[in-house]
Amino acid sequence: MSSLFNVIFTTEFAFSVLRVTTPILFAALGALISNRAGIINIGLEGIMLVAALSGVVVSAYTGSSWVGLMGAVMAGTLISGILAFFTLHFKTHIILGGVAINMFASGGTVFILYLLSGDKGSSTSLPSKVLPSVDIPLLKDIPVLGPIFSGHNVLTYMSILAVFVVYYMLKRTPLGLRIRSVGENPQAAQSVGVSVVKVQYTALLLSGFFAGLGGAYMSMGYLSLFTRDMTAGRGWIAIAAESMGRSTTVGTTLTSLLFGAADALANALQVLKIPAELIGTLPYVTTVIGLVVYAVSESRKRNRKLKTKVKG
């Protein structure tokens, strides 16, 4: 047990929590925006995967990691746009549409990877670029805080920035107001002249945009190449984080950090003699527990409301 504490209470561990939280946080913010507009974007996992590959491919062919990042984000937004087109125009069931996106991504990325590199496993033969890590001038010299918060990938800082942007967008901008009103009561929003379809389109595109950033981080920050199915369930964990965070920006951020910690713990515990297969299930077990805790508390709240209504 003491060796467990030795693993957890280090600045390296805290640093790695932030490192592994980044893609989850991006995708969770994406899930948050679309959920607030009343659509659950199940395709996040696939969107991240496509974006991760696009980032690698575009950066390899242009020689620039920033253009690669743009490619990744555009690919994420595009896939999200396709999903939006099918669900909003063709009335495809949103969950099945998301499943289709995921299925497409897991095979389609391998297909494209093979065509471009002749390899079905990873993009080792493509000279892809990596987004830089940043040392923060004053912060990096402060003991404890410095080693934890400085020296991260630029996208990790962008994910933290994104939390504030999303918070502000949802609370303070007309778009945020429309998104929330459409999510809470589409008929009412429609009756005051808000175009529900347009708002949901925007929300889904934004959700793809953020998932795209998360995907780009996977292949151009967290790792420096693309490997098949490299998102490894992070899109799903993000959806769980959003729902456990009760669809609020602050809650979603905190639960994303919790899942990041579980993930980092799974990585850190591999030095102990616990089989990696079992450790690997830790984030998923956390997710299930989180979902259950949330659902139980919600159903209690509902029951209380019902009771007071009956009494009143």
Partner: protein
Amino acid sequence: MKVKYFEVIRTTAVILIALVLAFIIISIVSEQPLESIRIFLWEPLNTKGHIGNVIEMAIPLMFTGLAVSLLFKANLFNLGAEGLFYFSGVVAATLAIHLSLNSFVHPIVAILAGSLVGALLSAIPGILKAKWNVNELVSSLMFNNILFGIGLYILNYKLRDAQAFAAVSFKFEKTAMLSKLIPGTRIHTGLIIVLLLIVAAHYFLYKTKWGYELRMTGANREFAGYSGMKTAKVIVIVHLIAGFIAGMGGSVEVLGMYSRFQWSSLPGYGLDGALVAMLAKNNPLSVIGAALFLAYIRIGADQMARFSDVPAEMISIVQAIIILLISAEQFLKFWKNRMLLKEAQRNV
């Protein structure tokens, strides 16, 4: 043209669109597109062995397709058949290695054990949904990863044959393996089991009170609740049955097709089951055709990957298009409306 044939026409149209798309992709990718398309379409039917391959692959697809159909019919978006299929396979493999029984009882014991474990594990997301309304989609997907982790642990630490060069288990006892039905192919008795199961599911769904309750709960859970059905119980029972079927599928696949357990990743039949269920419109009898179709294009893609320059993953793009269009309510709706209008005018 009758409106009742509309769904058939629509499904056919979707499949045609998907195939045309496949041809377009092949034409872009391949150096010799016509030859590639010929292999894709014709090779699965070309030899007895290849027809055998199609049917062999359709067996697990029928199992998971049937399991997912029942869940979808109850309006439960649960994709847990994936993990159950895998884990039950591990259970069946364990018993196939460690028990010694005669060749009649051995597979029955191993398959039933796998099915029961599948049913019990499937009940967990079911109970969570029924009691607290935990989103079954997310929880079942998390369970897939959890069951995979535990299954892989059992394979690597308990079943693994150190003498073998790959991550595979010890060999199954000969008595545990399912016998082959048709010489020259690997089609095994699992085919009979799944066909019987499909007929039973059809009977259950359309001829029994429980089946009626399941369909009503799926159509409108609140309404079913108000009319006196215990919808929570129905949800748990559907999960038990679907888990049993998925578990049986995994066990049958392992004992029918292999002599060792060798899945070091999720085999994917659970998610494919969702596709089969959608093609079959959640109708048990149609699962047979849907599974055969999917197996046919898969084997076609495999053969194409082997004998031409088009990778087999091409098929996942086709599958995504099929799902998107099949579940698209508005797709060809204008045509249905026109048909309805004509029929109404005729009746006036």
